[in-house]
Structures are given as C-alpha cells and as structure tokens.
C-alpha cells in the first residue's frame, strides 16, 4: 500500500446523504475479476446525467470527494473503493461513513476522513462558490483546509498509522503467526469443519 501523509486536490461537493455502494458502483460492474480498471464504473448511473457533478469542469478532475452523511452504506463490495481510487480520488470527507466502507478504504489507502457535518457544509459552500478550489487533507495533523475553512477530522489511530506507514495488513498479522497456531490448538473439538464434506 502507498503511504499517505497529505494530499491536495480539487474538491468535489456531493450534496447527498446515504450514498450507498450500489450508487458508487452498480452491481453489473462487479463481474470483473481484476482489482483495477473500475474508473468507468464509478457512479455509473449518475454519470449518465450531464448535470451530475463529475460531468462538470473542473470537478471532473477532482480528487477530494466531500459527501453527505452515511457515505458507503449497503453492500460490502470493495469495488466501491477501487472505483473511487481508479477515478482519481485520494480521500473522501463525510460526517458519517458506513463501517465496512471505512474498513475497506483503510485497506486500500483511500483516506475516509470524518468531519463534523457543520464543517462539511462550510466546505460545500466554498467549493460551490469557487469551483476548482483545492482541498488539503493532512493526515499528520488530522486537519482539512479548504479556502478559509480549517477543520479537524477523525480517523482511528491504527488506520492512521497504517496509512502513514503504508503497511500491508497481512504482513503485520503474519508476524504473530505463533499466536494463531497456539490459539488453534485450544479450539474445541465440536467446532465444525467444512472438510471432509458431510451432505444431507
């Protein structure tokens, strides 16, 4: 995973709550077996509407998505994160993220920064009044700067550390493989196994 410390890019105001992962990437695009190449799939249904924000300059070159509350609800599809990244987004700001989406973002180096809704509203106004305004998201100081708005954001310390260091989760866990093996030795015999298969 790439390290993330600070990012500056054009902010995209998405004034909408409950942006579910079916909107971020419709199910039809989930048939692919690759991990990249999803840029065309991002918000595919909404992008058919010429008025949609990503169809307007300069927002189409945005890399900081500023969304309403409850972003990323619904399906666990990590494709939603891949699509945002493939399009060019480095970070999403919202006052509330769905848990699975937030977790998936952390694994893939997309920063999901949680801001107060009041601050989101202020940033929306700046971005709408002056399209193309850049937003700086600083993971070291946990602050967002947009025009004259400077706002703190929340992210859990563990995810922040992993993003700052660009650490691979599996590698970290395998450092504790002895603990896993020791735990396995204590599992009760009645716990089920899928193999050998027993059929009805």
């Amino acid at each position: 995973m790439e390290k993330f410390s600070t990012h500056t890019g054009i902010g995209v105001p998405l004034r909408q709550s409950n942006v579910d992962t079916d909107q971020i990437i419709p199910a039809v695009y989930l048939k692919r077996i690759t991990r990249t190449g999803f840029e065309d799939a991002l918000f595919a249904a909404w992008r058919k509407d010429p008025a949609f924000i990503l169809n307007q300059e300069p927002f189409n070159a945005g890399s900081v998505l500023v969304a309403g509350p409850d972003f990323g609800t619904g399906s666990s599809r990590e494709h939603a994160v891949w699509a945002l990244k493939d399009y060019g987004f480095k970070t999403v700001l919202s006052s509330r993220f769905a848990d699975i989406f937030r977790g998936n973002s952390g694994k893939q180096g997309l920063l999901a920064a949680e801001l107060a809704q009041d601050d989101i509203e202020l940033i929306w106004k700046v971005l709408e009044n002056a399209p193309g305004t850049e937003v700086t998201v600083d993971l070291v100081s946990k602050t967002v700067t947009c025009g004259n708005v400077v706002a703190p954001f929340e992210i859990d310390d563990y995810t922040r550390w992993r993003l700052l260091e660009g650490l691979d989760d599996i590698g970290l866990t395998l450092q504790h493989e002895e603990d896993i093996t020791a735990y396995e030795a204590t599992r009760p015999a009645f716990k089920p196994k899928t193999l050998p298969a027993r059929l009805s």
């Binding site: 709550s17 077996i33 699975i100």
Partner: protein, 484 residues
C-alpha cells in the same frame, strides 16, 4: 464486568489483544471459525494470495458457493453472459487450486451463501463467521458473531484465518409482545431500521431480545439479523436457545454424540448476563406493529402499510428532507398517496432475507386457491437448491405455478440483478429482499421492501396489500412463530 453475548463471543476468539487502551487501542486479532466464499468478492483475494505466494491457511474452515451471478433458468446450459460465466469459472478454478469445498450450480447444496451455511449446520452458536458479503449478519441468528467484510479482508482471512477488528459498541433491540397475524419478522426489522435509521447501528453489534424475538423461529430470526447491516450495524445476533438447538440437531455438520452435549453445554452460556449493560437500548412494541413497507430509496425510508407516502416536509433534518424529495422523484410517488393504492408490476419472493422454507410456505398459504392479478409478474426464487427440492416435495411449486408465478432455480437473482433477473426502468416491484437502493434491482427499477405475506397479498390484488385486505381473509398468516 458482566458481559453481553457479543462480548462473550468476541473474547472467546481473541488470538492477540491489541496494545494500548481507550482511544489509542489497537485492534484485537480475532480467530475466524468459518469463512464463506462466493464468486463476486473472492477473485481478487485469491489473486492476491497467488501474487504473494501465500497459502490458504484453513481450507477446512472455508466453503464456497455460486450465487450472485447464477441464472435461475436453464441452469443446465452454459451461462449466457460471458463476464458472469468467467467469474463463475474463476471461482471454480480458484477453489480447485486452493482446495476449497465448492457447491456449484446444479449441486443440491448450491444456493445463496447465507442460506447454505445454516442449512448444512455449519453455522453454530458462539462462532465467528465472515464472508465478503454484507448480509453475513444473517448468521447472527444462531448467536454467532457474523460480519460482512471487503475483499482485502477476505484475502486476510484466507491467509491468516484471523481479522484485526476494532472494538464495537453494544445495542439491545428489545421487542416485547406478540405479533398479530399477518405481521412477521420482516416487519420487525423494517420498523427497527425506520426507527434508528440507516446509520443508527453504525459501530454497534445489535442484540435482538425480548419475548417477541424468543417466540420467533430460526428462519425468522435469520430474516431479522440479515438486515442488521441496513441499519449500519457491524453485526446483529440473537442468543441461542432450544429453538436454535432444535433447528440444528441432525444437520450434516452439527456436532454429534458426546460432542453435541459438550457443544450444548457451551452454547447454554451464550447469553448476555442479567446485569450486563448495553451502550444503547431501543424498544419496539410487537403488539401494535403492523405490516411495514418502504416508500423510498433506502431501507430506513419505511412506514406502516396502512399509512401514506410521507412528505419531505415531515422531516426536520435538512439532509433527510432532501433525501426524501429525491427518493419520491426516483420512486415516482406523490406525498399523501395511501401506500395501499400503489400499483406494482413485479413481485419478487426470494433473497437471503426471505427465501427459506417458511417464507415460501407463508406466501403459498396466502395465494393457495386465489388468482394472481393479471398484470403482475411474480418470481419465486428459492434460497438454495435444497430449499427448492424441499418445497417441491411439499408441492409448493405447484401452488406457485397454478397461481401464475414463475418457479425458478436458486440464487441471489433479482435482489441485485447481477443475473438476467432485473427490473426494467420505471418498473415497480414489491420485493422480499433487503435493499431498495436506486437501480438495485435493475437500472431505473423501483423497489418496495415487504414481507413474504405482503408480497403474496400484493400479487393477488395488484396493489401493495396486507393479507387482511384479501377477500376472504386468510385463515392464518402467522409467519415464523416458533412451535417450540
């Protein structure tokens, strides 16, 4: 400190406690007892293992099935959609390469991953269960801690059989009283989501409690736990009891002999202590609950079936108001319209929420001897090949076919329309599935989430209907009330 059920299950799976405390706490490393796999969220995870030269640590705790992409017609022919066929073939190749048990299309145990696990007896109380699918919360009905995960985590579980998880908060959902005829588990969970919102459960594990929950069958409990994610919860569970044990006993992978006794002894400890405290408690009255239905484009936008389409002005919060406006426009609805006057085009009975034997029986009981509204298309998609076989043994397929419904093969089908079962733009559907998002069931499709008996009554009348609207009224529409 007295523990809740969820905390007990968590504590029993900690491989390594995270360092630090409070806000600085690192996640605990938890052991995963069962990993369910399907074709959509696994290919990139298998590929990750291959690229890193890693093995799949515990094939004997892993099981795969084909469900999201599979057609529900002509399953003996090659899958027509090339990308779907490729994805299914990729799963088959990966399972062969990594030694994972797979139930393929045509196999008697194939079906929706969340129907297959419990049916085989692989889902048991006190386990940790994960799957690259948000509706993994279904398995919480057994008192398991069951969570949906993303593909990176799927790969992590494949490589390590563990997950790093942040601590959760606990929420008790207390449902006291007795459900009236025609009201079911689906109505309970839709009412809960309407009450706490799609983000209300965020960060929480929900425990469904109270006399109304205790009275529910396992399949009804699965319906409730299934939709925990629609309230944003990390998981949802119900304490195991005799109903749980009766359901499990004799299933292929249930413990046998002395192991069964040892298991039951342990399972009996799996309940929240009387003096355990939940971070939040929410109460719902079962006595007064009515059949519920969604009017909007998220599962929290629901009302009683006997009420009207709400107006954006009914919502105080600006975001909720804007969301309601947008939802009404998408759904093609006008505020103030009685829900029961809304005419639908399609009825979908299926999905991991409502596709089990009880769901099919309940719907069949409503339609038996009645005539389908001629303008309605009705799809009945059993949750698994096994459910389909059992239903046919009971003659339910005949009831549906005589009524004019289409009797299909098992899979996720129109819940998300990854296969050809989709809505046309503007088409309106009464669906027993779990998500009414824009375009979920097909581009431009409009979804109303309902229970199986409401779906059935709607297919008779052509408009959103409760069983009590039928003439003559059904003798009984008790759904999912446990006999135990």
């Amino acid at each position: 400190m007295a523990k809740t059920l969820a905390e007990k299950v968590w504590d029993a799976h900690v491989v390594r406690k995270g360092d630090g405390e409070g806000a600085n706490a690192q996640p605990d490393l938890l052991y995963i007892d069962l990993h369910l796999v399907h074709e959509v969220t696994s290919p990139q995870a298998f590929e990750g293992l291959r690229l890193a030269g890693r093995k799949l640590r515990r094939p004997d705790l892993t099981i795969a099935t084909e469900d999201h992409n599979t057609p529900t017609l002509d399953i003996d022919k090659p899958i027509a959609d090339l990308t779907s066929r490729t994805q299914i073939q990729t799963l088959r190749n990966n399972c062969a390469e990594f030694g994972v048990r797979l139930h393929s299309l045509g196999d008697a145990e194939q079906g929706i991953v969340h129907v297959v696990g419990p049916q085989l007896g692989l889902t048991q109380p006190g386990m940790t269960v994960v799957c690259g699918d948000s509706h993994t919360s279904t398995h919480g009905a057994f008192g398991a801690l069951a969570m949906g995960i993303g593909t990176s985590e799927v790969e992590h579980v494949m490589a390590t059989q563990t997950l790093s998880l942040k601590p959760f908060k606990t929420m008790a959902i207390n449902v006291e009283g007795t459900l009236r005829p025609g009201v079911s588990a689906k109505d309970i969970i839709l009412a809960v989501i309407a009450k706490i919102g799609t983000g209300g459960g965020q960060g929480y594990v929900l425990e469904y409690r109270g006399s109304a929950i205790r009275a529910l069958s396992m399949e009804a409990r699965m319906t409730i736990c299934n939709m925990s994610i629609e309230a944003g919860a990390r998981a949802g569970l119900v304490a195991p009891d005799q109903t749980t044990y009766d359901y499990m006993y004799g299933r292929p992978h249930a413990p046998q002999g002395a192991e069964w006794d040892a298991a039951v002894e342990y399972w009996n400890t799996l309940r929240s202590e009387d003096d355990a405290t939940f971070d939040v408690e929410v109460d719902l009255d079962a006595d007064t609950l009515e059949p519920f239905v969604t009017w909007g484009t998220n599962p929290g936008q629901g009302v009683s079936l006997s009420s009207k389409v709400p107006s954006p002005e009914d919502f105080g919060d600006e975001n909720a108001k804007a969301a309601a406006e947008r939802a009404l426009q998408y759904m093609g609805l006008e505020a103030g319209t009685p829900m029961k006057e809304i005419r639908v085009d399609t009825v979908f009975l299926g999905s991991c929420t409502n596709s089990r034997m009880e769901d099919l029986r309940a719907a069949a009981d409503i339609i038996r001897g009645r005539t389908k509204d001629p303008n309605i298309r009705m799809l009945v998609v059993p949750g698994s090949a096994r459910v389909r076989l059992e239903a046919e043994a009971e003659g339910l397929d005949r009831v549906f076919k005589d009524f004019g419904a289409e009797w299909r093969f098992a899979g996720c089908s129109m819940c998300l329309g990854m296969n050809p079962d989709q809505l046309e733009p503007g088409e309106r559907c009464a669906s027993t599935s779990n998500r009414n998002f824009e375009g979920r069931q097909g581009k431009g499709g409009r979804t109303h989430l309902v229970s199986p008996v409401v779906a059935a009554a709607t297919a008779v009348r052509g408009t959103l209907s409760s069983p009590s609207d039928l003439d003559p009224a059904p003798e009984s529409a008790a759904v999912g009330i446990s006999a135990a």
